[in-house]
């Protein structure tokens, strides 16, 4: 009987059996089963709204990262290109619409933080 089973076993099955035997003999299989159970329970208990809320947070973080990275790169390039502006140069920079947009955003950001304190 066992001989028949032996001959029918594919090389892949034999390899799996060898590896599993090692896991059983060393007692590690119990940990793996525990882990699989935890993963399986997590999937079972997760709902679509939970995932939606989670990915929303991830998106917020990625967006903040993208905006910040862009701004830092831009600022570095501009700073390297131009001399440190004089007081008059600062005013000229302030006249620029994008600077004012950014500054207003920063001030509103500060206000938003203040509101939470």
């Amino acid at each position: 009987m066992s001989e028949v089973i032996q001959t029918k076993k594919s090389a892949e099955m034999q390899e799996i059996e060898d590896k599993m035997t090692m896991l059983v003999q060393t007692g590690r299989i119990d940990n793996l089963i525990d882990l699989l159970a935890v993963v399986s329970d997590q999937i079972e208990m997760t709902t679509t709204p939970i995932v939606e809320k989670m990915v929303h947070s991830i998106d917020n973080i990625a967006t903040a990262g993208f905006v910040t990275e862009n701004a830092v790169r831009y600022a570095k390039r501009e700073s390297a290109k131009n001399e440190i502006p004089s007081l008059f140069g600062m005013l000229k920079l302030l006249k620029d619409e994008d600077t004012r947009k950014g500054l207003a955003f920063m001030l509103n950001l500060t206000k938003g933080i203040g509101k939470q304190m």
Binding site: I43, T48, V55, D59, A62, T63, G65, R73
Partner: protein, 396 residues
């Protein structure tokens, strides 16, 4: 002299290209040697697959629309203008505004558009989820539906071996419809019939455009009581009697006709004289490896506008972008392209409202159907609502 790279189209392909190019060519940009400009006829960016969820009341629509500027790196100069002329001899694209945009390298990424008017009666009698307006209309009809028949039809371009937009979408939406009607408790009162045309790329008389999936679909549809019919190539629709007629001589009545309509390339491409596709469909003749427009050494293309046999899908574009961007960068740096596209497509199909099926294939190997899973559906959801935007921004 600064080298000018011009990208036409601010959809999935254009946006991913622009950001990945900016990343790759940052040293040249910093040295003031390269300038990247994108023109698009819209200041918003639409995540198109989102429309499927709108059709089945799983999203309102606004979640999938963003400001195009907010998705682009600052190194990309973004201009809202509609390209009306491509002059590949003199290396410029003309905008509707009258501006001439000169280029050293051009990327054509204007996607494709629905051309329902190519089938008599379809515009009036049919519905589709390939646009947000269409999906909203369909959602309203589904909400009002109490009993009757939903007929699914699929159209392929006349040009051989070219797919319609997103190959798996008709299967996805048929399964989503089944789940939606089951959730509503009216599935037993509604007959769903999925039909497929006689000719669909390499497959004849099948249910999908690739044989392995075509072979397993009958079993899947039978298990959820979706009726299926091969060899139904939609020829015309009578909106008054709500009847669909096939080229093969059959007719079928419906209460809702959920169709995958004919698609054609954008008008500017169709009028450019660059395409040799049948029936003025406008697909760009594309070198399957380099992704250059055949015969033009400094013009590249990708996404829904190409004449390749691979799916017109975001999961295709994601892989094409890396090749195209490397090739443009290599041309600038060494004088020749170095990468080759192998036709790889990777995506997760929404097989019903709670099940996601990972799929991948390339020029050589067809999709191997795999079981769908709840976890797959979560990954898909994550992609729809968050990862897509990171991918478009070149972060993924």
């Amino acid at each position: 002299m600064k080298k000018q790279i011009l990208i036409v189209g601010g959809g999935t392909a254009g946006t991913m290209t622009a950001n990945n190019l900016a990343n790759k060519l940052m040293p040249e940009i910093n040295r003031g040697e390269v300038e990247i400009t994108m023109i698009s006829d819209s200041k918003i960016h639409v995540y198109r697959p989102g429309a499927m969820y709108v059709a089945f009341h799983k999203a309102a629509g606004h979640e999938f629309i963003r400001d195009q500027r907010s998705l682009l790196m600052l190194e990309v100069d973004f201009i809202v203008d509609k390209a009306v002329e491509i002059n590949a001899k003199s290396n410029y694209v003309k905008g509707k505004s009258g501006t001439k945009y000169n280029y050293d390298y051009l990327v054509l990424a204007t996607g494709c558009e629905v051309a329902a008017d190519r089938i008599p009666g379809l515009q009036e009698g049919g519905d589709w989820f390939y646009s947000y307006e269409g999906a909203k209309k369909l959602a309203k009809k589904f909400a009002a539906l109490k009993k009757g028949r939903v007929l699914v039809t699929v159209n392929f371009p006349k040009t051989p071996n070219i797919p319609h937009q997103c190959g798996i979408a008709p299967v996805e939406t048929t399964m989503m419809l089944h789940d939606y009607l089951t959730e509503k408790g009216i599935r037993d009162d509604i007959e769903i019939i999925y039909t497929y045309p006689t000719k669909s790329q390499a497959v004849e008389n099948g249910l999908f455009l690739q044989a392995p999936t075509s072979d397993v679909l009958p079993m899947i549809f039978d298990s959820i009581n979706v009726k299926h019919k091969t060899s139904f190539t939609l020829a015309k629709v009578d909106p008054k009697t709500k009847t669909a007629y096939s080229e093969e001589g059959e007719k079928m009545e419906f209460d809702i006709l959920m169709s995958t309509p004919p698609f054609i390339a954008a008008e500017v491409i169709r009028k450019s004289g660059l395409s040799k596709a049948l029936d003025d469909e406008g697909w760009l003749p594309t070198d399957k490896k380099t992704l250059k427009v055949k015969g033009l050494d400094n013009v590249y293309t990708l996404g829904d506008t190409v004449d390749l046999s691979v799916s017109k899908a975001g999961g295709t574009i994601h892989n094409q972008v890396d090749v195209l961007v490397d090739n443009i960068a290599a041309e600038m740096r060494f004088g020749y392209p170095t990468e080759s596209y192998d036709g790889k497509v990777i995506a997760i199909a929404q097989m019903g409202l709670q099940c996601g099926m990972p799929l991948w294939y390339d020029y050589e190997e067809d999709v191997k159907p795999t079981p769908c899973s709840k976890l797959g559906s979560f990954v898909r959801l994550g992609f729809n609502k968050s990862l897509y935007w990171a991918a478009a921004r070149g972060m993924l």
